[in-house]
């Protein structure tokens, strides 16, 4: 038996959206294919790498593991919602300044995970930053520059061991 499309109404980055899709279609694919929001990336497709991180009803989620049915009535925030009117968010500016983005595949997920962290905890310490980003893998930066970006965006000062780059990335 084949599944018919259902109608999903939800709010994406402040705009009301309606899509028609099978209920098991992944939120990731709906964002990219139905709504053209290709900022959200697919990395592993199994909830391990965090590339597809978005916020749904204020919770950080891996959009590759969310059937679109679960987004009915939800508020979804993607990386496209961070910068408004061609201006970057404080966090995005911090990533630019600190070299927190390199190849870019992890960056939208990192930005969403860090946005979520700062929304829950505006002044995280380094352990809290590590935990907040633990589900997001980066193979370029060695993570230190990403941690520095989050610290800068949070308006905190850099701890000695982060700024010297000697912190091991566990």
């Amino acid at each position: 038996m084949s599944a018919s499309d259902i109608t999903i109404r939800f709010n994406v980055n402040g705009e009301a959206c309606t899509v028609h899709a099978p209920p098991m279609k992944r939120l990731l694919d709906v964002l990219r294919e139905d709504l053209g929001l290709t900022g959200t990336k697919e990395g592993c497709g199994e909830g391990e790498c965090g590339s597809c991180s978005v916020r749904m009803n204020g919770d950080l989620v891996n959009s590759c593991l969310v059937p679109v049915l679960h987004a009915e009535g939800a508020t979804v925030e993607t990386v496209e919602g961070l910068g408004r009117n061609c201006s970057l968010s404080t966090l995005q500016q911090a990533f630019l300044r600190c070299g927190g983005a390199q190849c870019g595949i992890c960056t939208p997920g990192m930005l969403m995970a860090a946005t979520h962290l700062l929304a829950c905890n505006p002044h995280p310490n380094i352990a809290e930053i590590r935990e907040g980003l633990a589900g997001n893998l980066c193979r370029c930066t060695g993570f230190i520059r990403i941690f520095e970006s989050v610290i800068l965006a949070a308006g905190s000062s850099l701890p000695e061991q982060v700024s010297s780059g000697s912190l091991d990335a566990r």
Binding site: A3, P22, P23, M24, G47, S53, D59, P67, H70
Partner: protein, 291 residues
Amino acid sequence: MRGDARAHQLIAPDTLAAALDLIASEPGRWTPIAGGTELMVAYAAGKLGTTSLINLWGIAELRFIRTQQDSISIGAGATFTDLRNSAIVMSEFPLLAKAASWIGAIANQNRATLGGNLVNGSPAADSCPALLVYDAEVEFISVRGNRRIPYHAFHTGYKQNAMNANELLYAIHLPRRFARHRQYIRKVGPRRAMAISKVALAATAFVDNGIVNEIRLAAASLAPYPNRLRHTESELICGAITNDSIRAARSALMREAQPIDDIRSTAEYRKRVGANLLEEFLRGLTTPRGE
């Protein structure tokens, strides 16, 4: 992405009663899905093994943490974030709060449910050893009503459990009597977040005048399904913790454990590390509380 959305049904009853009616009308046909952190992975890989899913995510009647006089009750739909944020879980059942913090990372914890972890029944599941050493009970629900069984009787084989096809897991109950117990949990894996445990051990014990009056031990990845280490426990019960009893308990664990070689570790490593964790717990029992 090999899962075909069009080939999969996902129906969404509004209430628990409607979900129970549906699964009772076609027992075994509908596979429940909650946060999707397990099933969506299999689905994307084209290995789900079913095309008929019933949604439980968002059913409020399954998502709660309630405190009673003698116990707490955790709804099967409570997420690991819910557990980590619960004051009573943190203060009285710290092993469960700790295990919840190991599961995946924040995005996974926001979606993965305690009920899903149990029903999935992975031998490596992080929450199961904690529930076993807290002597949990599980409660099932169906159109015929509710029934409870001890959690240690829930897992019956590799990815097998004692639930009937017309039932859902409703709640997990934990007795509030561990405040004076010594408690231990440790995971060994390649990293704290995301990585599935190579081996983990949870333990509770009540020691009175140097004698072990009560002890419960449970491990992840030392058996085909989450279970207590009964032979190792019986080696220790009613005795004192000495170098000899620790040695005997280590041997009992090495005999009792049935780990496997797999992509994450080897059977030999798991046994040895399991015994090391046990020894760490037992040596801790010989020091005064709080040190």
